[in-house]
Amino acid sequence: MSTPTTTNRQAGQITALVALALWAMAALQPLVWQEAADGTRLPQYLIDLPPAWLAVLAGLAAAGLGLRPTARRGSWAGIALSSLAALGWLQLPPAQASAGAGAGFWLGVLALGGLALLSVQRGAALEGRRGDQALAPLLFGLWVIYAWQLLVVALEVPRVLLPPPALVLEALRSHAALLGGDFVQTVLKAVLLGWAGGSALGFAVAVAIDRQPFLQRGLLPIASLTSTIPLVGVAPIAVMWFGFEWPSKAAVVVLMTFFPMLVSTLAGLKSAGRLERELMYSYAAGYGRTLWSLRLPAAFPFVVGALKVNATLALIGAIVAEFFGSPTSGLGFRISTEAARMNMALVWAAIAVAALTGSLAYALLVRLERRVAFWHPSVRSR
Amino acid sequence: MLNPLTEDASPSVSPLRPPSALRAVEVLGASVVYPAADAPVQALQDIRLTIAQGEFISLIGPSGCGKTTLLRVIADLEPISGGQVLVNGVSPREARLARAYGYVFQAPALFPWRTVLANVMLPLQIQGRDREAAQAIAREHLGRVGLTQFEKKYPWQLSGGMQQRVSIARALSFEPRILMMDEPFGALDEITRDGLNEQLQQLWCRERRTVVFVTHSISEAVYLSTRIVVMSPRPGRIVKVIESTLPDERHLGLRDTPEFMQMAHEVREALSDGHH
């Protein structure tokens, strides 16, 4: 009962064959059209462009390797050669926006596409070593960024539509101070304080009403209701009450994170098993002691789980609240105003900052979860 | 004429070798080796066994003796590392694609979103029969295991024993020549188990399909089978093949007869022999 590895291998071989053919054809077609002084266009072939030789050779070698079923070393060699070919092709004038692209250039691009598919497939087929799981998504991501850079420049996509990654990196670098200020405004103030405040409030209320089943039965339906309400709609109201600056965004975040934490904490407090509670009862342990020694520790996995969910909600809430609520700085503000000004590179840079923040925060919380809730089956079985 | 020599590894009295047309399963020196971190595990070593059509074979032995592995090899659920296995004269894979056998797992494995009747219809639907025909056939087989009035119920509404009966009806619904069962009654209580044993025995007696049955219960093996294959672990191998002297038609009271106890004793001895 195995996965269709034979069909995978056959598909890979066909791709390699096609790539091989494309490279061969690219060698024969004009790669670049240069503008001459008198306005005419002169074709340049592979023979005229020494930098391209390495690329084509590497590409042919990679495609050749793809034809044979190979193990780890062969796959790595193929990946390395494909990367070499890709980088080489990036140096050609069309990819540097200094000349027009010829048919040969595009054939090479197609061949690189085939090599990309092949290398990702080979990367995904590897297993046994520790880093293998991360290889395929990493390769995939890198190829996507490469394709973005190559195609946006070579196809002469207007910068106001989609800037190439190189430009985004440049924007990140040159506007670092500005983005840093936005980061502090949104993340360190609105997100962090709102997330901490909302979660703490939710936790406290949950513990407070733990002994009031009446209140619980009244509040829980309302809590589940709020999960369907677009709570970011509260942003204009928050602005009215708390002003334009970060407190109003933090207020929105508090509202968004309160209910998930409330629900999760209550569920966690209930999760202590009946047998364990009967054990504490047999020790004549009071409510407080039982809460401290049994029910709160039992609730930790749920609480940390809600903290993870709340982190994502908080980031989204703060950024979107800035869309709605007209502040003067912040990541959401930066994104919406620079988008209106068609300053796309800066917008992407701000998005990159937000995305990185989100994934880093989540990764940190996963670490926390492993330390605090290491005993829980959902964390253990990883 | 028939060759009294057999390929069974047992040194005891062996049955006459049936002509090839009547051989349901032939295991010719099969081995299964699992690669492991420190040392490879020899799950099966050079197994030689021939099963004739219409026989009820039990594979019995302690855990790790390879009985389930052998069954799964015959069913094309696991590959062999060496030797050859033939089912109805072709490879296990071809036999599986030709739908030559029905398999009953340790758990009922019924789909909870299908009614009992729909569950029995499942293999028929996969084989492409139209809905009405499939329903009629399924209904008939459900009747043969005595569960007609439950056809509209859902699996979770039935007891464990009833679910397993549905599973058996499903395995037989497309009338395979061979039925393979992997400790099908292991999860049930003894009383239910006895009832199901009797039903299965009567079903076999009526229909005379080839049955390969894995169990670790001595009395179950002796009660049900025409031949008992005793296996032992490390490495998995056949220790003894015991021919049953009991009549074809059996009832539960048979288990208290001296004949039965003699067979059970023989099996028990073979099992402890294999331990050394």
Partner: protein, 298 residues
């Protein structure tokens, strides 16, 4: 010290009484809060010019103030009701008009996102390459604020000539896509080994295994994700209405309300958005209940 007797586990008794009691308390607190928040404004704008005032005057004017800081529940209800009945349905003054606009984008985006997510999930489950290379990105994208990309998407689609429902639906689409895709992958992989081996013994094709085993097994995972997805799609549709100059839709109504300081309008728009969200989620929940009606309660 009282002990928690585990023998007396509180069973969930009636829900109606606690719920109505809680709602009642919330409404009462609301009215009290209104006086506190609107009081200064009321004093300054309504009462003081008229001369001496009493507590009743304060309370009353707090509850009927124009441009209040916190509208009283009856003010919201009145504005809500009037917007529904006083204007024809296709007028921008009628909230139902905005519901139609936002609802359209939400449902279209939701349908597209669900379809895309389901297709991708099927591909991921059947291809090792996609599983290893693409799935981690889909899972990771749940931790990044995907909604932040909305302005870019709108600008790009706008300059490509797309306007109207489609850009908003696209944003709703990719918000629905991620939870549905992840849940579908989980669900399609949920059958246990014994069940997939059973299909193997039937020599079932990959397509038959998908249709007869994996898909039915996946529904209990997909439906909760549909509920999350439709709510996310609604938020996306509302956010998408902002950059287009606040013309139509519940999101734009919220924005115009805040531009003109019309608090009551904001609140009634928010109320309508909540009701819409509730309606969509309940529809999904009802669908789930119907589709899984024969399954056991485990």
């Amino acid at each position: 010290m009282d002990t928690i007797d585990p023998r007396s586990d509180p069973k969930s008794g009636g829900r109606l009484l606690p719920l109505t009691a809680t709602v009642l308390v919330i409404v009462l607190l609301w009215y009290a809060l209104t006086v506190w928040l609107n009081g200064p404004g009321a004093i300054e704008r309504v009462l003081a010019p008229k001369g001496p005032w009493s507590w009743q005057d304060l309370v009353l004017s707090s509850w009927t103030l124009q441009r209040p800081v916190l509208p009283a529940p009856h003010q919201i209800a009145a504005d809500f009701w009037s917007s529904l009945v006083d204007w024809p349905i296709d007028s921008p003054r009628n909230l139902l008009f905005h519901v139609a606009v936002t609802g359209q984008s939400t449902l279209l985006g939701f349908a597209m996102g669900t379809a895309l997510g389901a297709v991708l999930a099927v591909l991921i489950v059947h291809s090792r390459t996609l599983d290893r290379a693409l799935l981690p990105w889909v899972v990771a994208s749940q931790t990044i604020p995907v909604l932040a990309i909305a302005p870019i998407v709108l600008v790009i689609l706008g300059s490509l000539g797309f306007s109207g429902v489609l850009p908003k639906a696209v944003i709703a689409m990719y918000l629905c896509f991620f939870p549905v895709a992840v849940a579908a992958v989980q669900g399609l992989r949920s059958p246990q080994r014994i069940e997939t081996e059973l299909m193997h013994t039937y020599a079932a094709s990959a397509w038959q295994t998908l249709w007869l085993l994996r898909l039915p097994a996946a529904w209990p995972f997909i439906f909760p994700a549909l509920r999350v997805g439709v709510a996310a799609g609604l938020v996306g549709a509302m956010v998408a209405e902002l950059p287009t100059g606040a013309q139509a839709g519940l999101g734009s109504r919220l924005l115009t309300g805040s531009y003109y300081g019309n608090t009551v309008q904001i609140w009634s728009a928010l109320l309508m958005a909540s009701l819409l969200g509730l309606l969509l989620s309940s529809a999904m929940a009802a669908l789930e209940k119907w589709a899984l009606r024969h399954r056991s309660r485990t």
